[in-house]
């Protein structure tokens, strides 16, 4: 069973103001998506970030105090909590809302890389369209959005990749098998960054590094996501039947602009989860994973080695090659995505060793480094020049008239898996083979009758008849498509749910 999705928190700014109110700007941006009035629908009862996959519940998160402080300030605003969150479920099954002052787009759950890319790109279009509408209201192109992970002053925001995992896989095995892989994944999936930062401790201009997020990783494991961020987040919020499933919630990744990098990031992680499920993961244990993720990030020449617990040293490329070797033995031929990922992963590692020029337009850090070094030569700049950080930021601008990556893409210099038709379809509907598609279908067909939604269920107004579509264990494509057919054909949600119950019980 493969199911994955990406949540992206966008950076937002107003260029016409000296001081920007991030709460209001993010809320207004999300609201600008709506043609009509905001109606509260998201049901937060399924969310509890205090549950820890290691088998306990923490009494508090490090961010709680800061959140409380912000809540006190925000209490004076003329908006309720729900108005500030402005949580929307879109007709394509995605969630779009204001999360901690960042507009966040969460793709619907996807089963294939192509669907995921189309929905990730659809997210870029949706947030930019909202910015265009907001700018129309403001009378100028004042609001700009960035698909990145840092403000270059020590404040980071996330791009989380999520995977459905069987709960039969012990969490300790998941940790030991994933850590070396995740520490080195940035070689493929890093978005690149000028300079160095530490959590809320400012910015040191300087050389280029592979990852936007590595500077902000402060722990191997942990349930926190805003402070003391862990390489492997232990939040136990499965958004599914918790007796059967976990949700692997990875917060260490960068927001990618390159489709190829997104596809590889998620594709290779999916393969490593397959390895773990089959018990054939490479036997590697890093001595200091937190130090290692920073060391590897800060060496774009990829020569740095990190120490293993058994005393050996190993490069990031060699770690990735160990995982590729295991995956090629175990996963070849399992499906089309697996075969594509194996081939491209190998090709990428090989090019990173030899000549990375062909990876421009495919990997973000390689592309960004090429752009910046070209500019530095033209303008005779050093890495310490503040212009470089500004160009780094602008690489991620999702405004097609300004973004550097999108400029490169417009010239046909980037690798694409999606077509404009794929993106248009992803803007309108969710994947036909996942519950994300069902969620979107409910929004399109029965919007007026929906009273509450969350990842695993949709609730309808409906008197005495069954009124909840439970999707906590609705993952088989055939079952999803059968349920979709009933929702399409029924005159009301109650009729659809009754027919669905009959089918399941039969």
């Amino acid at each position: 069973m493969h199911l994955f999705g990406i949540e992206t928190e966008y950076g937002i700014t107003r260029e016409d103001l000296e001081a920007v109110d991030p709460v209001e700007e993010s809320m207004e941006l999300v609201r600008a998506h709506l043609p009509g009035k905001f109606e509260r629908r998201w049901d937060y009862r399924g969310e509890d970030p205090h549950e820890d996959a290691r088998g306990f519940r923490v009494s508090g998160l490090q961010q709680d105090k800061e959140e409380d402080d912000f809540a006190k300030v925000d209490a004076h605003r003329p908006f309720s909590f729900h108005e500030m969150k402005s949580d929307l479920v879109l007709p394509n099954g995605a969630r779009f809302y204001n999360d901690h002052t960042h507009p966040e787009y969460s793709t619907p759950e996807c089963r294939t890389l192509k669907d995921l890319l189309a929905h990730d790109r659809a997210g870029e279009r949706i947030v930019q369209r909202a910015a265009d509408r907001r700018n129309q209201q403001l009378g100028g192109a004042h609001v700009q959005l960035y698909k990145n992970n840092t403000d270059f002053h020590g404040h980071s925001y996330g791009c989380h990749d999520n995977y459905l995992v069987s709960r039969s896989l012990p969490f300790a095995q998941l940790v030991s098998g994933l850590l070396p892989f995740l520490v080195s994944r940035q070689l493929v999936a890093g978005a690149g960054k000028v300079g160095m930062e530490a959590q809320e401790s400012g910015f040191v201009p300087g050389p280029f590094q592979l990852s936007q997020r590595a500077d902000f990783m402060e722990a191997e494991l942990g349930v926190d996501t805003m402070h003391n961020r862990p390489i492997l987040n232990t939040r136990d919020e499965p958004h599914a039947d918790r007796t059967k499933y976990r949700r692997l919630h990875l917060i260490l990744g960068d927001a990618n602009m390159c489709e190829y990098a997104t596809a590889l990031k998620v594709g290779i992680t999916r393969l490593v989860l397959d390895l773990l499920q089959r018990g054939v993961v490479p036997n590697l244990e890093l001595e200091q994973p937190v130090a290692a993720i920073k060391q590897l990030s800060r060496d774009p020449d990829l020569k740095t080695t990190v120490r293993l617990r058994d005393g050996r040293t190993i490069s990031g490329l060699a770690i990735q090659e160990e995982y590729w070797n295991a995956a090629s033995r175990c996963c070849a031929g399992s499906d089309q995505d697996a075969d594509w990922v194996l081939r491209e992963w190998q090709e990428t590692l090989s090019l990173l060793r030899q000549d990375r020029a062909p990876l421009v337009g495919k990997l973000d850090w390689v592309t960004k480094q090429w752009l910046l070094e070209t500019f530095m030569r033209e303008e005779r700049l050093a890495w310490e020049d503040p212009w470089l950080a500004s160009l780094d930021l602008e690489y991620h601008n999702v405004n097609p008239d300004r973004g550097l990556f999108l400029g490169l893409e417009a010239e046909g210099k980037t690798w694409r898996m999606t077509s404009e038709r794929d993106i248009a379809q992803a803007l309108a509907t969710g994947p036909s083979d996942t519950r994300g598609g069902l969620r979107g279908l409910c929004v399109r067909r029965f919007s007026e009758q929906i009273t509450g939604m969350q990842w695993e269920r949709v609730q309808f107004a409906g008197g005495l008849r069954a009124r909840t579509l439970e999707m906590g264990d609705l993952f088989e494509p055939d079952a999803v498509q059968a349920c979709a057919a009933l929702l399409e054909a029924a005159a009301s949600p109650a009729d659809a749910l009754a027919a669905w119950t009959t089918r399941k019980d039969g």
């Binding site: 950076g11 700014t13 991030p22 961010q63 999360d99 901690h100 002052t101 960042h102 890389l113 192509k114 960035y146 403000d151 270059f152 002053h153 404040h155 980071s156 925001y157 996330g158 996501t225 805003m226 402070h227 917060i251 089309q336 594509w340 081939r343 090019l351 000549d355 990375r356 020029a357 062909p358 990876l359 421009v360 495919k362 480094q369 090429w370 752009l371 070094e373 070209t374 500019f375 020049d385 503040p386 212009w387 950080a389 780094d392 930021l393 602008e394 300004r402 550097l404 400029g407 010239e411 046909g412 210099k413 690798w415 694409r416 898996m417 999606t418 077509s419 404009e420 038709r421 794929d422």
Partner: protein
């Protein structure tokens, strides 16, 4: 890092085109970057328009 190699990219580009049986043969399908001369001038023009102090002014609250 060796982007002095970049001009050669026009002549000997890697093959970013997945072979048949990739995950996306239907619809648009993967498309390789154009191998013609990169329109560096346009991109450099866009880069020169970026305000050097933009990152200095850009402030966000910590997210997740």
């Amino acid at each position: 890092m060796r982007y002095m190699l970049m001009p050669e990219r026009r002549e000997t580009p890697g093959d970013p085109m997945p072979k048949p049986s990739g995950p996306s043969e239907e619809g648009g399908g993967p498309r390789r970057p154009e191998t013609g001369s990169p329109d560096k001038d346009n991109l450099l023009k866009r880069m020169r328009k970026v305000d050097p102090k933009q990152a200095e002014r850009y402030r966000q609250r910590t997210g997740q």
